[in-house]
Every structure is written in structure tokens, then in C-alpha cells.
């Protein structure tokens, strides 16, 4: 496999500290760069003194942007999850002529499904003014294009370009919105932000069109694939929605605010949580290195053994190596992330003192960091399940997290604001334990899963 995996394996094989450091730094930038910048864009203006001192236009802009980010991520996820699978299959089959048509169809599908609802939402129940509403609609469309484009570029392993695009786009978006806000208010900020996102999206589209031959969009083929892979759509939706469930609950909780426009938000909670999510960066980077190096090679060896006609004992031996590797990686991740979590927790008071967090946000931040640890570990398990094509299990785990996150957050409200964030933390632990148990069970049963449960030939034979 070319691309970043090859580079990472080369770096980690150097057997020196600088090689490992370079590998981890590259992984951190690649996995978390775009998301990191996004989180900063949303959280930046909602933290500490910024929150207390920002004019109403900034607050409206931040809330509208949160809504656009949230719902575009969640509602585009089914399409991008499906498309990622289709593109992976097309690459495996060497069918590069289908990549651009699939991309265009995914983009069209995502926009056609969402934009009518988005337009209705911003123009009818929500009163932000016509210009701001139009800007929010444009920003939403740009975000949808961005998620679809980066999903394709990620599957194609074009991480470096994705990172550069995000960096450039975010500079335009954030810088432009800050300047435009002073002159044109919320509508101006949103428009500039939308332009920045559009820059990233179009750069990505251009990159795709340069790399692969053009072909007309095939919406029919995508819809057919969607019908045959309904589980993938569900996985995308649930996995994207689950981390937002606590925020949706909090937007209507006691500490929430209802703006004049009709938008609900929980400013202290949202910002503190997004900042807490940054705690996932080291673990994400470490997991990415592990996944692209040791795990991927073990995974390939396991299936190669089967397909090359190995004896059962050799297949079993490879299974043990694969599952042992997953367990070892899990332990390493838990240790690393625990260290990071403890370090950040201990740094909490300093963040309050520096004005990054308000005293109200501090307990939310603490629970958020704790919850982020297990949320990260859950994500890692879901990625492993994705490699092993355990779709029903992914649906189960994402559903458990979604339900627990919503239910426990709602339950925590009964205990007062000191427990804001506790629901997310507890949901993270419980969902991770469930997912880890399920994954361990499947690992023991992996040969049966490979030969029967997940074997398309077994289904097709009848």
C-alpha cells in the first residue's frame, strides 16, 4: 500500500527515537489536523474571556456555525461512509475510472438530501435575518462539499494535501470572518467562513479531478449501492450522531440559552467540550501509526494466509498474532491516553488561571477530557471493526454510545450543573467496555467470521 502507511512503516522501522517521533508527528498532523483546526474554529471564540466579551454578532455567528458543522457532519456521514467503502473497492479492483463519478454522485446525493431541509430550517423557524440565513445555507453547502471531498481524499490517502487545504482554508475562514464581522456582522462572518470552507472544498475537488479521469456522475449506481449497503449508511449516521447527543440534550437543558433567533445552545458546555476533545490528538496519532503499520500488516497476513490455501493451524496462528497485536495496541493506547488525560487534568487549573476556561467550564472540561479518553478508545475499536467488516457490531456499538450519551446526559441534569459532562464521560466508559467486549469475542471467533459470517461468497453461493 503506497502513501502514508508506507512512509510511517519506514519511519518506525528506523529503530531510533527521531524516526518514531517523526512518524507520530506526521500521524498527529494527518489524523487530527483538519479536525483540530475545525474545533479551534468553533471553540476559539467561545472560550474564557472571549465568550464574556464578544459582541452578540460573534455569538450568533458561533452558534449558527456550530449548527452548520453539527448537522452537516451528521447528515453527510452516511453518504461518506458508503462512498469510502465503494472507493476502497474500486481501488482494490483497479477501477479508477469510477472514482470521479462516485465522488460526483456522492456530492449530489448529499446535497440533494440535505439542502431542502437546511433551506427550510434557516428560512422558516429560525429568524436570523435573510442575509445571515443565506450565508448559513451557503456555509452548510460548502461544509457538505468539504466533508465529501476530504472523505475521498482520505480514502485515497492524500493526507498531506488535506492538511494543507485545511490550514489554508481555515486561515481564510477564520481570519476573514473576524475582519468581516466588524464591518458586516453575522452575515459577513458566515459568508467569509463559507468562502474559506469553499476554498478548501474546491481545492480538494480540483485535486481529485487532476488525479483521476473524469466521468459523468452515476447517481443510479450510488443509490443501488446504498440499497445494498443500508447498514453502512446506518453506521455513518450513528457514529457521527453519537458524540453530539450530549450537546443536543444540553442545548435544551437548564444551562442552555435560547437566542432571539430561536436557536438553542449551551455556550459554556459546547466550548469546554470541544476544547476537551483536543485531548484525543495524541491517542489518535498513536492509533493511526499502529493501524497503518503493525495492525494493517497483521490483518493482511491473516487474509493472505486464508486465500493462499494455508492449513488451519497456520491460519489460527495468524489470527492469534492479529488479535494479540490488537490487544497489545489497546493496552499501549490506554496507557498513553491515560497519561495524556492525567496531564491535561492536572493542567486544568492553569487553563482557568490563564483565562482559557471560566470556572463554570472547568468541571465540564474535566469530565470532557475523561470522556474523550474512552471516546477515543471506542473510535479505535470501531475502526478495527470496520477493517474486519463487522457492520452489525459497529451499529450496535454506535447505537449504545448514542443512547447512553443522550440518556446519561439527560439523567445527569437532575444532579445539577456540577455534573454537566458526566453523562458523556460515563457513556464513553460504558460504550467502550461494550465495544471492547464485543471486539474481543469476535477476535476469538475471527476465523468463523471470515469464513462464514462475513463471507460474501457464502451469501452469494445460495
Amino acid at each position: 500500500m503506497a502513501g502514508i502507511g508506507f512512509v510511517l512503516r519506514r519511519l518506525t522501522r528506523r529503530d531510533d527515537l527521531s524516526g518514531a517521533l517523526q512518524a507520530f508527528t506526521a500521524a498527529a498532523a494527518i489524523t487530527s489536523g483538519p479536525w483540530l483546526l475545525t474545533v479551534l474554529a468553533i471553540a476559539g471564540s467561545g472560550l474564557g474571556d472571549a465568550l464574556a466579551n464578544s459582541p452578540p454578532e460573534y455569538q450568533t455567528f458561533r452558534v449558527m456555525l456550530s449548527y452548520d458543522f453539527c448537522f452537516s457532519l451528521v447528515l453527510t456521514a452516511p453518504a461518506t461512509t458508503l462512498a469510502a467503502r465503494l472507493v476502497a473497492d474500486q481501488l482494490f479492483a483497479g477501477d479508477v475510472d469510477e472514482i470521479v463519478p462516485t465522488f460526483l454522485a456522492t456530492l449530489a446525493f448529499a446535497l440533494l438530501v440535505q439542502m431542502p431541509l437546511v433551506i427550510l430550517f434557516w428560512l422558516v423557524p429560525i429568524d436570523v435575518g435573510g442575509a445571515a440565513a443565506m450565508a448559513a445555507i451557503a456555509c452548510y453547502a460548502a461544509l457538505v462539499a468539504l466533508w465529501v471531498t476530504t472523505a475521498f481524499l482520505s480514502v485515497l490517502r492524500d493526507f498531506g494535501f488535506v492538511l494543507l487545504c485545511f490550514l489554508g482554508g481555515m486561515i481564510v475562514a477564520c481570519g476573514g470572518s473576524l475582519i468581516a464581522g466588524q464591518m458586516f456582522g453575522t452575515a459577513g462572518m458566515l459568508t467569509c467562513f463559507a468562502c474559506g470552507i469553499a476554498v478548501v472544498a474546491f481545492a480538494g475537488i480540483g485535486r481529485l479531478l487532476l488525479r483521476f479521469p473524469y466521468g459523468p456522475l452515476k447517481l443510479g449506481a450510488l443509490l443501488g449501492a446504498a440499497r445494498r449497503n443500508r447498514t453502512l449508511l446506518l453506521i455513518g449516521l450513528l457514529t457521527a450522531a453519537a458524540p453530539w447527543a450530549d450537546k443536543w440534550i444540553m442545548w435544551f437543558g437548564p444551562s442552555s440559552e435560547r437566542m432571539a433567533s430561536g436557536l438553542h445552545h449551551a455556550p459554556f458546555y459546547d466550548s469546554a467540550m470541544f476544547l476537551a476533545y483536543l485531548a484525543m490528538v495524541p491517542g489518535s496519532a498513536a492509533f493511526f501509526v499502529i493501524a497503518e503499520t503493525g495492525f494493517f500488516l497483521s490483518y493482511r497476513r491473516f487474509f493472505d494466509e486464508i486465500l493462499s490455501g494455508a492449513s488451519f493451524s497456520r491460519i489460527e496462528s495468524q489470527r492469534q498474532e492479529l488479535c494479540g497485536g490488537i490487544a497489545d495496541a489497546g493496552v499501549s493506547l490506554v496507557l498513553l491516553q491515560s497519561l495524556v488525560t492525567v496531564t491535561i487534568e492536572l493542567s486544568g487549573p492553569m487553563l482557568v488561571q490563564a483565562g482559557v476556561l471560566t470556572p463554570v467550564q472547568y468541571p465540564i472540561f474535566r469530565f470532557g477530557v475523561l470522556g474523550a479518553q474512552f471516546h477515543l478508545l471506542l473510535n479505535c475499536v470501531l475502526v478495527v471493526m470496520s477493517y474486519l467488516d463487522l457492520r452489525a457490531d459497529q451499529v450496535a456499538c454506535a447505537s449504545v454510545f448514542l443512547v447512553l450519551n443522550a440518556a446519561l446526559t439527560a439523567a445527569a441534569l437532575l444532579f445539577g450543573s456540577n455534573f454537566d459532562g458526566y453523562g458523556y464521560f460515563l457513556a464513553g466508559i460504558l460504550a467502550f467496555i461494550f465495544a471492547a467486549g464485543l471486539a474481543a469475542h469476535r477476535c476469538r471467533d475471527l476465523i468463523y467470521v471470515a469464513f462464514i459470517r462475513n463471507n460474501a461468497s457464502v451469501r452469494d453461493a445460495h
Partner: protein, 495 residues
């Protein structure tokens, strides 16, 4: 309405053309007073074109696809788990070739207890089924490809379940036209209903499978070389052969009588476990008068040899093609005709056409496709069969009845038909020649000997015709089966 006879057919009538299918069709036509139900075992559930139109006394046709099972219940309950394990144990015994008729009775009881729950999900896709596969793999030799073993086991088990699970067709007696899965079905039906099972074997199914398995290039030699002199090398072939041998033993145990076409076959049946007292011979027969009426075409033409049969590997058409090429060295204007369907194995037919081109025999050999044989017999000088395996080819009898000498490989009943004389019968002149398998030079030499010597040709022509007239009459065959069916139905009524 209950049929008189239920015919159990595997990979033949009415969907496949060939000798056995023609024989079945003639059998149905010969007994208009009996009603028949046909059970046709097919590889899968794809719609198939009928090559024969069953006559009016065929009440109904049931197709059972061997690789298609209903899903059934997905998750075993505590109650079903024990029954599923029992069923899988019996399937395992069947595939190991050690099952008995009692196992079939036990299977039926357990399956009935499960109702419609038993299906692919529990018996092929469940963890219990996978453990059964693993146990089978350990027994066969744990160094061969597990993937190949998995699919082989699954393919065999699916076919076994396809014949053991569906509801039973009702008939006064059952008649399997081979062992294999048709015979297994017959054994099940006989055990479950107590009604008679007749078995007729044209080729010996198990032997034909042994040849195919030996020739299969996808069944590579699995076990690694070992210096241990006593170690028995087992691989995937053993799974297949043991299963088919087991099916044959079960069929022989359940059937009475066990009929075949010639003595050579009986030796193989005895070797595979048939009871001597149940064996009998009913040779194939042809409508002698019809073929004897063929008048030889007097128009001048080049010497013509013909292979009358399907263009498939078991007919070894390539040896015939090479033999014609060699024949043309001594008889330059000799022609070869290949008269038979091409669509059963299109890839092999293309290879034969390519071989003809490669040997520059385009003007000498023609692949005619399916023909009306009677129309060609007047213009053929020798009927040639170069098959690797045959039973009692009707084409030799048809050509022989028309006075066409025959050259055939020494397989099946060919030597008996062309050269040998049954004990106690008056000797008749040889009707042609018998050659070794896959020997184009020997076949070419036999053809040249007959074509070059008019007296020898005439002697073989008369000899072959006399053999058919005295030993292979259709009327004798029809009477013999009428007696068999009559006795079987009587046994059923008196039971």
C-alpha cells in the same frame, strides 16, 4: 395422484442430452401404461432449457437444486441445538462414507422434529456447522488447504442436505438412474416409505467421480512430503471419494434389484459393496428395425469416419481428431465428422476447433453439432468412440444396427459389444475393433485396417448388425423393465 414410478435423475434427463437421457426418454415412452414422477437433481436453481419433452405419462417434474437451500431458523434455541448437532453428526458420517440406512431414518426423524427450522443457517452457516467442518478437516489431514476443504465440505454437505430435507415425492416405487445424490435420495425414500427402490447404473457413478477427481487440477496434492514410511498421505480427494463411495454403499444397501448394463460393471458394483444376490443385467436396446432400414448411400464420397457423441472431455474428442490426422497419412481423402452437441462444454468445443485448425484439418474434419443420427448413418463408414469412460453406448448399437462397423476404446461394455461373446451364446464375428484409451495411433491404425480392406469391413458390418439383432433389442429391454416395475409395485401393494 400418486405416481406408479418416481424416477430419480441426477444431471441428466430432461435437461442434458446424451445416452442416459435418451435411455430415460425411451423408457418413459415404452411404458405408457405407467405414470411417472420425475425428480431432477440440478446443480443450482437457474432455469434450464429442456432438451427433451417428457411424454404424457409423466405426471409432474420436481427439480431439486443441490446448491440451494432454504435459510431456515437463524439462531438455535436450546431445543433445536441438540437436534442440529445430531443432524450435523449424521451429515459428517455421510461425508465420511460410514453412514448406514439407520442414519437416514434417524436424520428424517430429527429433521421432522425441527419442522421447517432446519436449513442453511443452522446446518451450514452456524458455529456448530463450522466446528463440524473443522473436525472433518482434522480427520482428512491437517496440512492441506483449509479454504479448499471448507468449500468442498460445504458443497458436499449442501447437496446432501438438499436431498435429505425436502418433502418426499409420493410414488409406488422409486427408480434411481445412478448412485451419487440420486441414489442417496432413493435410499432415503426407501427407508422412509418402505417402498421398493430400483437402481439402474449405466456408468458406475463412483468410478466416474474417481476419474474426474483424479483429473481435477484444482484439487492439488495437499499434504507435504513426509519421510515417515507409514504415514498415509490424505488430501482433499479423499473427502470427495469417501463421500461418493458412501453414497454408493447406501444405495446398494437400500435398492433391490441393482441393475446394470453389462458384466464389467457388476465387478465394480461388487467392489463398491453391492450384494451379489441383488445384481442383474439388462443391456441397452435399440429399435433394430428402424436402424436396419437405413440404406447405404451409393453416391461416391470419400471414406468417412464419425464420432457420434457430445463434445465433452470424457468423450476425448481430441484423440479422435488426432487419429483422423494420422489416418490421412495412409488414406489422404479420409474425412472425419463429429456429430454431437457443442454447448455442454463450450470451452472444450473451442479447444477441439482450435486443434483442428492447428493440425490443418479444417477441410477434413467438421464439428457438425447436434444432428439426426439416422440421417448420417447411410454416409458413415465407421463409427468411432474414443471415450475415456463409457457404459454401453447407444451410438454403437444404433450404428451397428445400421450395419456401420464400430471402433471404440476399451472402456465400459465396448469390448463386450464389439468383440466378446456371452457365455453359452454362439460366437458372432467381431463388429469392429477395440483400442486403448488416448491412443490416436492405435485408433488410426484400426480405422485404416477397416477402410483399406473391403472384405474385413463387410464382415465387421454384418457382425455388428447381427450382434445388435440378437443381443441388444429394445423390446427385450422394455419387457425386462416392465417385469421389474410390475414386481416392485406388487411388492409395495403387498407390503
Amino acid at each position: 395422484m400418486m405416481a406408479d414410478v418416481c424416477l430419480l435423475l441426477e444431471g441428466t434427463y430432461p435437461f442434458v442430452s446424451g445416452g442416459v437421457s435418451s435411455w430415460v426418454h425411451q423408457l418413459l415412452l415404452a411404458h405408457p401404461d405407467l405414470s411417472f414422477h420425475l425428480v431432477c437433481l440440478t446443480p443450482d436453481d437457474r432455469p434450464r432449457v429442456q432438451k427433451f419433452q417428457p411424454p404424457g405419462n409423466v405426471q409432474s417434474v420436481t427439480c431439486i437444486p443441490l446448491q440451494s437451500l432454504p435459510m431456515g431458523q437463524r439462531v438455535p434455541s436450546k431445543q433445536t441445538r441438540a437436534a442440529v448437532e445430531a443432524l450435523l453428526a449424521i451429515v459428517d458420517r455421510l461425508l465420511r462414507g460410514v453412514a448406514t440406512v439407520d442414519d437416514l431414518t434417524s436424520f428424517a426423524k430429527q429433521a421432522t422434529g425441527l419442522g421447517g427450522l432446519a436449513g442453511r443457517a443452522l446446518l451450514l452457516d452456524s458455529r456448530m456447522a463450522f466446528e463440524t467442518v473443522k473436525a472433518g478437516y482434522e480427520r482428512i489431514g491437517s496440512e492441506s488447504s483449509f479454504l479448499d476443504f471448507f468449500w468442498s465440505w460445504r458443497s458436499l454437505a449442501s447437496a446432501v442436505l438438499a436431498v435429505l430435507l425436502p418433502p418426499l415425492p409420493d410414488a409406488r416405487c422409486y427408480h434411481a438412474v445412478s448412485t451419487g445424490f440420486a441414489g442417496l435420495l432413493g435410499a432415503r425414500l426407501a427407508a422412509a416409505t418402505g417402498r421398493p427402490l430400483i437402481l439402474t447404473e449405466h456408468g458406475i457413478y463412483t468410478n466416474e467421480r474417481r476419474i474426474e477427481i483424479a483429473m481435477a487440477d484444482w484439487l492439488y496434492q495437499g499434504p507435504e512430503m513426509s519421510f515417515a514410511p507409514r504415514k498415509v498421505s490424505r488430501d482433499l480427494r479423499d473427502l470427495w471419494i469417501e463421500a461418493f463411495e458412501g453414497f454408493a454403499r447406501l444405495t446398494y444397501a437400500a435398492a433391490d434389484p441393482v441393475v446394470t448394463l453389462y458384466r464389467g460393471n457388476q465387478r465394480l458394483q461388487l467392489r463398491d459393496g453391492a450384494t451379489p444376490a441383488r445384481l442383474s443385467i439388462i443391456p441397452n436396446g435399440v429399435d433394430f428395425e428402424r436402424y436396419a432400414a437405413v440404406v447405404r448411400d451409393p453416391a461416391p464420397r470419400p471414406p468417412t469416419v464419425a464420432l457420434i457423441g457430445r463434445v465433452v472431455p470424457i468423450k476425448d474428442v481430441k484423440t479422435f481428431i488426432r487419429a483422423v490426422g494420422l489416418l490421412r497419412r495412409s488414406i489422404p481423402d479420409a474425412r472425419g465428422e463429429i456429430l454431437g452437441p457443442l454447448e455442454e462444454d463450450p470451452a472444450y468445443a473451442r479447444e477441439c476447433a482450435a486443434l483442428i485448425r492447428q493440425l490443418s484439418l479444417d477441410n477434413a474434419i467438421t464439428l457438425q453439432g447436434p444432428v439426426i443420427v439416422q440421417d448420417w448413418l447411410a454416409r458413415i463408414d465407421i463409427s468411432v468412440l474414443t471415450s475415456i469412460s463409457e457404459a454401453q453406448p447407444l451410438t454403437i448399437l444404433e450404428a451397428g444396427a445400421a450395419g456401420v462397423p464400430c471402433i471404440a476404446t476399451d472402456v465400459g461394455a465396448c469390448r463386450e459389444m464389439i468383440e466378446a461373446d456371452p457365455p453359452g451364446e454362439s460366437p458372432v464375428a467381431a463388429g469392429g475393433a477395440v483400442t486403448p484409451i488416448a491412443n490416436p495411433a492405435a485408433t488410426a491404425a484400426a480405422m485404416a485396417a477397416l477402410l483399406a480392406d473391403r472384405r474385413r469391413w463387410t464382415s465387421a458390418s454384418c457382425g455388428m448388425q447381427e450382434r445388435v439383432r440378437t443381443r441388444f433389442l429394445k423390446s427385450d429391454c422394455d419387457r425386462a423393465y416392465a417385469r421389474l416395475y410390475g414386481r416392485a409395485i406388487e411388492r409395495r401393494l403387498s407390503a
